[in-house]
Amino acid sequence: MIAFDEPTLFPEALADLEEKEALPTGMNSEEIRRTWPAELRRRALFSARTTKADLLEGYRDQLGALMGGDTNIATARAKVQDLLDSLGYNPLTGFGEGEGVPPAEAGSLRDLSSNMRVDLVLRTNMQQIANYAFREAGQTDGSRYAFPCYELVRVAWRAIPRGMRKLKGGLVPNPGEDWPSRWAAVGGEFYGLGRMIARKDSPVWPELGSTANFDDALDTDVPPFAFNSGYGIREVPRRECIALGVIEPNDEATAKPLKMNEGLSVNAAKFDDDFLRAVRSDLDASIERGRLKLK
């Protein structure tokens, strides 16, 4: 039986958002990347050339509303733009004298009030916070055992995906720039029909998001790995990982050894092996029946 109700909150993600320190700065993206360590960037709420703490707090409010399901991207963007108006922002004059915001072409990415800019800040932060929470939730012993790997997949639709360009007659690839090329470049292996899967503790994840490898990367080990990326991760079940050859049946889930919690040990001791094998066999049969029913 499936029961539906109202949701409460997304605790890990909202906690991460609340803990982020607002860091106003007049620096551009390149200067921030060069001078701020990656860990500081991960723990901070910031945007290039954004010198007003009030604006960052406005972003925080809208990110909280988006993650709570209380608003949508169009309304959140409009509220940030309203706030910029109230702070006296103008693309040509910034916030006024001495604020260190250079003039920008209206509507461009450098215009703090453009749709493109506000969307990029909202979407990038939202995805990073949600994926950080998703990654943390997947680090429990049970989760690392049941889902030992991530798969790199397209999560957000794009009319022209990264690494493709539009020509008469359709999209054509720009070799070396798409995600499969990046995956191969950082040592990722392909399974099945080109699936990009690696253990949760594989070095390919931080390498994919490293500016040492890709100019548009965000120096992160959770998606989005690059500016305006539509790619994300999904968890892959243990048996599927074994069937595809990503891990061996006896592989540890990660380099970090599994610690069985007390509840698990008590329950493990309660049942004999034959009974547990019979339970597993019953489950396999009913899972198979359920799958057939779905056809």
Partner: protein
């Protein structure tokens, strides 16, 4: 909070032996965590497939606009929760409730109209942020229009309506059977963990 909280009880979908096994557990939090993770991933993967289904971007495609990423954001906002008593998946995203019932959208506080985009530039925007719009009576409903650069002709940007009712669409979530299968997979993951605890494959 807008969205859905989903909990699954599989007691009527498993054998007596599996049922006896679950009843005999001292503490079910880890079992529920395994079930909740399976269900979360089922829903998350389903939303990702909706996001990548061109048929789900009909309005944006028709207008020639960029899709808003609605279902990708729903996938991001899907999380799981386990307690001793329950395995719960939460989807904090507006509009997902439509999978369970009709949804009637009315204007927010202090507003009289909803805006329906008629051109690509109007899609995924709040009308009050678009300069130069004004209301004209339309044949069927009032329209928000803007003067073109020639200063004479106009382009309709939005139709104004009092409310919109979206009919229930159960296909916005996976079918019930898929929830049951994944719940059983979660129990199986838990049994595998018990074997792992004993060092038996």
């Amino acid at each position: 909070m807008n969205g859905l909280a989903i909990s699954v009880d599989i007691s009527d979908a498993v054998s007596e032996r599996v049922s006896a096994f679950i009843s005999g557990l001292e503490n079910r939090t880890e079992l529920n965590a395994r079930i909740a993770d399976r269900e979360r991933n089922l829903i998350r993967d389903y939303f990702i497939s909706l996001e990548n289904d061109p048929a789900r971007h009909k309005t944006a495609t028709y207008l020639g606009a960029t899709p808003s990423g609605f279902w990708g954001m729903a996938a991001n906002n899907t999380s799981s929760l386990a307690t001793e008593d329950a395995a719960i998946v939460q989807v904090n995203h507006p509009g997902v409730g439509r999978s369970m019932h009709d949804v009637t959208i009315t204007p927010g506080e202090g507003k009289q109209w909803l805006t329906i985009p008629l051109i690509a530039a109007a899609y995924n925007q709040r009308a009050y942020r678009v300069p130069g719009l004004f209301v004209v009576p339309g044949a069927a409903m009032p329209l928000l229009v803007k003067k073109n650069e020639d200063g004479h002709s106009i382009t309709p940007w939005y139709a104004l309506v009092r409310s919109v009712t979206l009919e229930q669409d159960r296909s916005l979530l996976p079918p019930d059977e898929a929830f049951e299968v994944e719940a059983q997979e979660g129990v199986r993951d838990y049994v595998d963990l018990l074997f792992e605890n004993r060092g038996i494959a």
